[in-house]
Each structure stands twice: as C-alpha cells, then as structure tokens.
Symmetry: C2
Subunit: 326 residues, 2 copies
C-alpha cells in the first residue's frame, strides 16, 4: 500500500473539495480532507462513502500544532497537497482585513511550513481571477499584472507569492489554478443559492443586489475538477499558473436572475438596485483568456450560461425546490 | 501649527529613513520616526538635530496596541505615511519564512489598520525590484508580472497587494516605490560594508560570495530620496507604481569588489566563489525600465557605478577607513 498516493485537501469539506475528492477516489487514491467546518460540512464528507481511503481532520489550518497532529496520520508514499481553503465571504473581508489575512493567507503560510518540514514537494493551489483586479474589458491572461481590489484577491496573491518563493527553495511542483466563479452542488453560498432562498421567502419578487449589469465568467464544478486533474496529469513540473474558465465573456447577474426565476418561480418580478457593483472590491466585469489551458489540451464542456443553467437545476433539487416535471 | 504636515516614517531609524527625514525637515515639515531598533539606530535619529519637529517612537509595528500608543502623539493637521520598515536580511528570510511574514508583511497589515482607524489616507511605500523575481535579461517595467523568488520579495508583493485593496476602500493615495539596491550612509549592512569589514580583517585578500558575475542596479540614497520626493510632489493621486533606479544595466559584484579594494586596500587579491548566485532567492541579474519615472520628469544623477563609487568613499569615512590624501 505504500505506493498509493495520498491527496491532502484543505478546505476538504467544502464545495469544490468534495467534488475533487470524489474524482481522486475514483482513480483509486487516498484522500485526507482537512477543514475547520466554518463553512464546509461534515455531511459532505460522509457522503463520499465508507471507503477506508477517506480520512477527515477537523482543524484550523492556521493552528500549526493542531495541523501537524492531523497531518501525522498520513502514511508513507507519495503525497499531493491540494490547497483549497480560504475565506469565501469576500464582502466580509473587505470590511475586516483580518478575515482574509487569516483565512486566505496565513493558512497558506502555515501549510507551506508543514510541507517544508515533512519534505512534501507537490502543491496544487486554488487561486482566483480576483488577483487581477479590475482591468475593464481587457482580456486577462496569465501575463496580465495583478492589482487586486479586494482583500480576498490581495491575500490570494500573497499566497501565490509565498508559494512562488517556496518553489525556489523546496517545492518541486506548484500548480496555480486561477478559478473564475464556480457553480454546482453541494452549494453552500453564492448568487444562485441566494436567489433561490429569496424566491422561497418571497415568490412574487426577486430583489437583486446592484443593477444586474455585472457580468462574470462561471464554470461548473465538474468542469473545474476536470481542469485541475488535467493540469495535474499534463501540466509542467515547477511553477505554473493557469486561468481556468470557459471561452465566453460570461453571464450577467440579470441573466442569472432571469434563469433562476424561470426555473423556480416563473411569475416573480425582478427588482434591481442602481449600483454597477454589488460591494466595494467587487470586479463588475472581466474577460478571461483561457488559451494557455486550451494549448495544454483542455477546454470547458459548458459555457458560462450552460454552467449556470445546470447549477440552478442542481441547487433547486438540493434545496427541495425542484419543479415537478410538466 | 495645525496646518504643518506630519510625516510618519516606519523603519524611521534606518538608513533610507534618516536621509528622507533630513530632506523633509529641510522643507519645514514635522517627522515622527518609528523603529524597533532591531537594525536602525537611535544615534542616526539623534544626528538629525535638536529641532522640536522630530519625534521618535521605539515600537514594533506588528504590535498594534503599542503602535497605536505611539501614533497618538501625532497632532492635528495633514499626515503623510512613509512605510519603509522591513526585514533587510534577505537570506535570513529564505531560511525562515516567519521573518518576512512578520517584519515585511504583517507590519504593512497593522499599519494599514491604524491608518484606516485614524482616517489617514496617504501612503508612500518602499517596495522593491525583488517583487519581479528572475526574468533574466528582460527589461523589468511596471507592467512586468511579479514572480518573486525570495520570501522578502513575496512579502513585499503581499504588502503591495494589501495596499492596492486598501486604495479601493479607504486610501486616497498610495505611491509604490520599487527600489533597486540602495547605497550610501549611514550604512548598516550591504555588500560594500561587508567588503570593507573583510578588508580590515584580512587586508591581503577579499573573499567574494559567488563568482562575481551577479550584476545589479544600484542607486545612491540621495538620488533615491530625490525620486521619492519627486513622486510625492508630482505623482498621481490614487494608486501608482514606479520603478526607481538609474538608466544603466548595473554593476557586477566583481566591479564592486575591485572598486572597494582599490579604495581601501589596493594590494588585496580578490578570491571568488563558483556559484552564479550568492544564495537561494537571490536574483543574479536584472535590467530595470525606469522610463515611467523619466516621463514624470525625474532621472538619477548618478549611474550604478557612480553611486557605488561615492558610497565606497562615504562608507570608508564612516568606518574610519578613509585613505589619507596622496
């Protein structure tokens, strides 16, 4: 058994992690999921099934001693670290910079310290389009300079920087994934879940934060996991950065509101705000260059619109709001 | 007196800060110098003279409560914050990432928290060419992507990112200065001081770390302060980034060794190592594009070679090693 790969996944009880874990288990590997359960849920882990190839540790990654204790369970053999945990409430981090300092950056610092100590040399990191900041309608490629406008984006960029320096001193591989907005199930937060909850409370009207013109790129979590594993299998050793997303220019909040309304409460009226941004630090629109990943051989199967449509259907089922078939 | 400008300078007892403070005092302004005296020296502050426009606070900027206590002495009137404190022992930060986490990044985080609380909206930040990492012979402009290879560079980039996000939420002005290597007096560390100390111990031989081919851009501290004040007076509001340096491609370690030897111990033999880099995370060579600052109207008065020559003369005097005139 010692040659079986163990995948250590931070944020392991979260939305992306449990989808990733399922795919890694399907390959026959072992997973150790680590989560402080601030937003991730133990039931998501339990749903992965009773295989002895799944372990779970409830721990805050910024607590070095507790983290070390959990990581000690990893048996000998190759170790791959997937670092997904972060603050996921971006407006909260704008109001209090300590949130992203701790939950988005110091987690990375502590994890790197543990990896260095244990001789673990392979890291796969969930970064974000938010590192770029607001470049208007310019296409964002991996060679675009980073000027984050939220503390979340800033502390993801800080994490990338710390990982880059670690690649110089002890990591053999550091794959940086710059995620767009990701949708799918199990959903714990996000615009679709918000809209569905609002429509359950007030089926006649859907209040939308902002004027609805914000347009963003959305990727379905199944495509995201596909891209991560593609880069894992086919990407270069050493340091690499890849934008991950569909090829299109995204979907507007108005369209998401309409699609959600049409699915869950067809007679609801849409009520928009007046602001072009939902909150300070929000990037109202961006265009993503995903040609580097396409050159590596991977393309998204769903457009932004398609990803949102499928996610609405899935989340409605999750919330018990699925429409009876006609 | 309430309209007199107060300049709060972190790293205030350090090499660059005391040169900056002298220039600001010459303009008739007030300065509050903050330093934990880990490397800065109280005597440097005392040499600024007995004017009542100089205040000094011994405090570690990462200690929020102690910092707040010191900042409470600032009287009403405009406040400009110059953030210069950082770990200056880059190899130490490569060996222990906690050094740059605390002394290069968390200082910025705490300072921003204090500024936000006090409504101070103007920040001038000493960043570094090390944020770029190793781009070989490519010219480094402000539009070059940042891939730092030392923890020092990474935590300076993290600081820039946190400041960028703060510009979105509460700062009116954030001027980022990307320093090259800076030389001059009072010298507390650096290659020239090291060489002079080595020659004092062993006047017949000068041992050089690395093979001497590392070539870097050097700026004299008088030019650096001139550039910072130029940007202060003529730069834009909001967020801006400027490389600061001379127009040339720098000076090699071999040339610095020869110039120092010629000045301080003309008969010494030079002994080189074999490595192209002095230590992990060192950028062996870089070329700096300073055209943005030239467009703003400022150019360095000394070349890299000229800056090093003048600094050798000044540091030799400081160390009591000046040659008698012939």
């Amino acid at each position: 058994m010692s040659s079986m790969v163990t995948h250590v996944i931070t944020g392991g009880a979260g939305f992306v992690a449990v989808n990733l874990a399922r795919a890694l288990l399907d390959r026959g590997d072992r997973v150790l999921l680590i989560d402080n359960l601030s937003r991730g849920r133990r039931e998501f882990v339990e749903r992965l099934g009773g295989t002895n190839r799944v372990a779970f540790g409830e721990v805050d990654v910024t607590d070095g001693d507790a983290l070390a204790h959990v990581l000690d369970v990893v048996e000998s053999g190759p170790v791959e670290v997937w670092h997904l945990c972060a603050n996921s409430d971006i407006p909260a981090g704008v109001n209090d910079p300590n949130v992203d300092l701790k939950d988005t950056f110091l987690v990375t610092h502590e994890l790197l310290a543990q990896m260095r100590m244990r001789g673990w040399k392979r890291l796969h990191f969930a970064s974000t389009s938010a590192v770029y900041g607001d470049h208007g309608l310019d296409l964002l490629s991996e060679n675009t300079i980073c000027e984050p406008i939220s503390n979340y984006g800033a502390m993801k960029l800080a994490s990338e920087a710390a990982i880059r320096a670690a690649t110089e001193s002890f990591l053999d591989r550091a794959s940086i994934f710059r995620f767009p907005n990701v949708v799918g199930v199990p959903a714990t937060h996000g615009v679709i879940l918000d809209f569905l909850h609002k429509l359950r409370r007030t089926p006649e009207v859907l209040d939308v934060l902002g004027n609805g013109t914000q347009r963003k790129v959305y990727l379905h979590v199944s495509d995201l996991v596909g891209a991560m594993l593609w880069i894992y299998d086919h990407g270069p050793e050493g340091w690499s950065v890849h934008n991950i997303g569909p090829k299109d220019d995204g979907v507007s909040v108005r369209e998401i509101a309409e699609l959600t309304r049409d699915h869950a409460s067809p007679h609801a009226r849409l009520a928009f705000g007046t602001e072009g941004r939902g909150w300070v630090g929000d990037v109202p629109r961006f265009r993503y260059d995903v040609s580097k990943l396409a050159t590596l051989g991977w393309n998204a199967s769903m457009s932004s619109n398609g990803a949102v449509k499928r996610a609405i259907e899935e989340i409605a089922v999750q919330e018990g709001m699925d429409m009876p078939s006609q």
